[in-house]
């Protein structure tokens, strides 16, 4: 990560010479009763000064950030935020800090949630104030929507002991109206910030010692309109002047832009070298003595007589500070300063007028100085302003790796955009970095490949890096064997120095190996990946990996383990205040699938809907599986209309998402299967015709299946599903022999690959086909194998969905003593009562679908008492709102609606 600039976190000190503004300080103190304080007023109204005074009087320490344009990069913004808070309460924000330092940048909400929790749980030790106050100065410089969104999130979840103060030149695009409506916002606006007559008098007469007449005072107040900057300049102009009366007359009588007038006055009275200093250094965002000296070095001509009279940069800065002229200190050590923006603009303009073209040279010198001192961000900024493209490009190349690794894409992309396109293209690495930024920002893969082709032509020596990016894109397109191939190629050629490309490669490889057809191998890989990602510290990655592993377990027929993994994913993706992160949606959908299989259809629907909503904020396409769940659940409930509606939604989503065809194909397939179930017997064949995915019958199947060339094609992956569907259609059309031909080829393969879930379905169908053919014994044997495979996972709907014919087989199985309890349960679910009363009817597995978290258990135990909710909150030392959220979740998981019910259910389930 680019090193943080400490001066941005420096709390400005109030200066003694300034007018105390007790009425405004009182307003601010009053404002602490509301969660958000907004100070909105144009430049030069003394917002920062006011805040400094308020802080000084308050005897508390705020977390302070002086924002600048660079903070539009979300990662930087968050870094400063967490660091500022950490400066006030050291050690409290470890989790958030670690997140920001991990190689894969976490979503902003996750970081903010960690911060919010930390605030909730920390106890301030050494301050008298009970509030944690975060002050953001110059918020108007933030234009990035992602930062605004993050701020909105913070505001929406602001902990009770935290206060947010925003100082800006314009009203920020945050939910102000809502805050106003709820009386949660305190505002100080321009009208409030203007100096009153009293304050003007106090300032000019008492503090500046001017002793003006009331009439003169009034004239000045009117002319400056209470504008702090104007007043200050006026005061400086008046100081040490013999002829006050005439000056005031001339000044107030003029209509000239007040600052123009005054600054010229003030500037004109400065020694020549100070004037020169002011103009030339005004283009620096921040300055110190050494830097200024370096900037002006060409000025010092040792032969000149008056060289002895010229001051050093440091001396001039201190003089300006003491005279209250133009600059603001950025630290306690008289080291760093900056110009008040207002004056910087004015001085800049003068520079352009008096020394046209000099600015460029000065920027270049500044850039050199910053580079020598290792302050690369500023070095780059100045180089860009100097239009010294080559130097800027070189520096950017040096630091780009670090930026990318920490997700500071915005900064890098911004810089690259400012370089001339031709230059970027001639620098292979920069070109690649720019394309990388494009990939991250979601540009179409076709466009990316165009860029990569171009780069390959121009810079063939960079093939390794190009290959990594190609692998990345291929990963998105699920072309897994290509990914593996490319990754291998890249690995052998990649220079060690390229940290970003190396770690991207590692990540890509991890994920690509996943699409091995053999589920057992896949499971092992995922285990390793899950552990590694914990070490890498990437939360999102861990959750995704857990979900993937759960999916594999499902495929292996291990439904209970899959459920546990989804549970773990949900717990990982939850903050202690129980707000679910969007990536958790995938786990919800996965749970929905399992619940449906266990015939808990209402729950299945609920989880699927929740999951769909959540993934919308993370990766909308992941919702497809949710819609499929819904479709099958509604069909099982007999609601054809709702089932159809769900599929249509999926179709619309897939059509809108242009990047790949996979989703369209899958949706079409599920749609066809649904239609088939609802009586449209030709649906499957029609689908196959449309997809031109002809499935040859007979010998050809064997060879095609084994063909490596097809391994990663969509056809290959869909093939087994399509074969099964076609087999089903063939059975219905009374063609069991053909059906068996299709199914038999799959059996060995599925067993080999550990695809138990599919194997169960295949065996059930084979049983049906065999039965049709009259091979009753073999049919029963095959069916019983299906039962044995399905028993550990408790599969229900896979049998139930096949139709009433399974009951015969189930009954036979029971009478032959095969999986009697399990088969009985399935019969039960089918609503069939058994002919022999001797058989026990076992009730469906009781208990919770989703286990309670530890925190929830604590709350539940306390619910089983006479403590009120606020008292429970006290016991657990959390906010009342947090407890209420826990309670809500507990009710949902226990499927109850009141405290009494919850306690009763908890006792029933032996939880308390």
């Amino acid at each position: 990560m680019m090193p943080l600039v400490r001066t941005k976190l420096y709390i400005p000190r109030g200066r003694q010479e300034l007018v105390p503004r007790p009425r405004l300080v009182a307003r601010l103190n009053q404002g602490l009763l509301t969660p958000v304080i907004l100070i909105s007023g144009p430049a030069g109204f003394g917002k920062t000064t006011l805040l400094a005074e308020w802080i000084r009087q308050g005897e508390w320490t705020p977390a302070w950030i002086s924002l600048d344009e660079g903070d539009n990069d979300l990662m930087r913004f968050l870094s400063y935020l967490v660091t500022a808070l950490n400066n006030v309460e050291p050690g409290v924000y470890q989790t958030a800090l670690e997140m920001l330092q991990s190689p894969q940048p976490p979503p902003a909400e996750r970081v903010l949630t960690a911060v919010i929790n930390a605030v909730d749980q920390a106890h301030l030790q050494e301050t008298t104030s009970s509030y944690l106050i975060l002050i953001l100065d110059d918020y108007h410089l933030i234009t990035s929507n992602v930062v605004h969104t993050a701020m909105t999130f913070l505001i929406d979840h602001l902990p009770e002991r935290m206060r947010l103060v925003i100082s800006s030149r314009a009203d920020p695009p945050l939910p102000l109206a809502r805050l106003r409506a709820r009386a949660q916002l305190t505002e100080l606006r321009a009208a409030d910030l203007r100096f009153s007559m009293e304050e003007t008098t106090d300032f000019l007469n008492r503090i500046m010692g001017l002793n003006l007449e009331p009439a003169e005072m009034r004239a000045l107040a009117t002319r400056t309109e209470g504008w702090a900057a104007g007043l200050q300049m006026a005061a400086v102009s008046l100081q040490g002047r013999a002829d006050l009366e005439n000056f005031i007359k001339a000044f107030t009588g003029s209509n000239r832009y007040i600052l123009d007038y005054l600054v010229e006055e003030v500037l004109g009275r400065q020694p020549q070298h100070v004037q020169s200093f002011l103009m030339k250094t005004s283009l620096l965002k921040r300055l110190n003595g050494e830097l200024c000296d370096y900037l002006l070095e060409e000025e010092h001509q040792p032969d000149r007589i008056d060289h002895k009279l010229a001051w050093s940069g440091q001396e001039i800065l201190e003089y300006l500070e003491n005279s209250n002229l133009f600059i603001v200190p950025l630290d306690d050590q008289r080291q760093w300063y900056r110009y008040h923006r207002l004056f910087a603009d004015l001085l800049n303009k003068r520079l352009d007028q008096t020394h046209p073209g000099l600015a460029s040279t000065l920027h270049e010198r500044a850039s050199h100085w910053f580079e020598c001192h290792g302050l690369i961000t500023e070095a780059v900024d100045h180089a860009l302003l100097a239009e010294d493209w080559k130097r800027a490009a070189n520096m950017i190349e040096e630091v780009a790796d670090g930026l990318l690794l920490h997700g500071e894409i915005g900064t890098l992309a911004g810089w690259l955009d400012r370089l001339p396109a031709g230059l970027v293209r001639s620098h292979a690495l920069l070109d690649l970095y720019q394309v990388t930024c494009l990939i991250f920002s979601g540009q179409s893969h076709a466009a990316i490949e165009e860029h990569l082709k171009r780069i390959e032509c121009q810079h063939p020596q960079r093939l390794a890096e190009i290959t990594v990016l190609r692998a990345y894109v291929a990963l998105f397109q699920a072309q897994f064997s290509m990914v593996e191939e490319l990754a291998r190629e890249a690995l052998s050629r990649l220079p060690e120095s390229s940290a970003f490309f190396q770690s991207t490669l590692f990540w890509i490889q991890g994920f690509s190996r996943l699409n091995v057809e053999d589920l057992n191998t896949r499971a092992d890989l995922l285990q390793t990946l899950a552990e590694k990602s914990k070490i890498m510290g990437s939360l999102m990655f861990t959750v995704i990996t857990l979900c993937q592993l759960a999916e594999v377990r499902m495929g292996q027929g291990q439904l209970v383990q899959a459920r546990d993994l989804y549970q773990k994913a949900l717990e990982t993706a939850i903050a202690p205040d129980e707000s679910l992160l969007p990536v958790a949606g995938q786990a919800k959908i996965g749970m929905g699938h399992i619940l449906r299989e266990w015939n808990q259809l209402d729950q299945a629907i609920r989880y699927s809907e929740q999951g769909i909503e959540l993934v919308g904020k993370w990766q909308p396409m992941a919702a497809l599986d949710g819609y499929f769940n819904l479709a099958w659940s509604f069909k099982a409930l007999g609601d054809a209309e709702k089932a159809h509606a769900a599929i249509i939604k999926a179709q619309q989503m897939a059509q809108a998402y242009d990047v790949t065809e996979i989703d369209d194909r899958i949706v079409a397939f599920v749609h066809a299967r649904l239609d088939f179930w609802q009586g449209d017997l030709q649906a499957i064949q029609r689908y196959l015709d449309e997809m031109q995915s002809a499935i040859p019958l007979g010998e050809e199947i064997q060879s095609e299946f084994l063909s490596q060339g097809m391994r990663d094609s969509l056809d290959y992956r869909m093939r087994k599903y399509e074969q099964i569907a076609l087999a089903r259609a063939l059975i219905v059309q009374q063609q069991p022999a053909e059906a068996l031909a299709l199914l038999d080829t799959l059996v060995a393969k599925m067993r080999e690959q550990g695809r138990i879930m599919m194997l169960i379905e295949i065996q059930i169908l084979r049983a049906e086909a065999l039965h049709l053919q009259g091979d009753t014994e073999e049919a029963q044997g095959t069916f019983e194998e299906a039962l044995r495979l399905a028993e550990p996972g408790g599969f229900m709907r896979t049998f139930m969905d096949e139709g009433p014919w399974v009951t015969e087989f189930l009954q036979s199985a029971i009478s032959r003593g095969v999986c009697t309890e399990y088969a009985g349960r399935v019969m039960d679910a089918l609503g069939i009562s058994l002919p022999t009363p001797a058989h026990k009817l076992v009730s469906p597995p009781a208990g919770l679908v989703e286990a309670l978290s530890e925190r929830e258990m604590q709350v539940l135990r306390l619910l089983n008492s006479s403590l009120s909710i606020p008292n429970i909150a006290g016991e657990l030392t959390v906010a009342v709102s947090t407890v209420r959220t826990h309670v809500k979740h507990i009710y949902a998981k226990l499927d109850v609606h009141s405290r009494l019910e919850a306690v009763a259910k908890a006792q029933e389930l032996d939880l308390v």
Partner: protein
């Protein structure tokens, strides 16, 4: 949508701004004006290439705490 030619904008601010500001304000021409009530104003007139550059000029005026009284697009025959 066909690209339209550069458009002329007229901005009125309260108070008197030196003509020397012209360069700083993208070469806009600066002239004196007066409101019906007799208050001094400055008329700035110039061409902009797109809305973003207009935004830039308005920001610069705003940064100087100049009160903006009017912004008009002037159609050319």
């Amino acid at each position: 949508m066909a690209p339209h030619p550069a458009t002329v904008y007229q901005i009125v601010v309260k108070g008197e701004l030196d003509p020397s500001w012209s360069d700083w304000l993208d070469g806009f021409e600066i002239a004196r004006g007066v409101t019906p009530r007799g208050a001094c104003t400055t008329l700035l007139a110039g061409t902009i290439s797109d809305q973003s550059s207009l935004r830039g000029i308005l920001n610069r005026l705003w940064d100087l705490n100049l009160e903006i009284l009017a912004v008009n697009q002037v159609c050319e025959e």
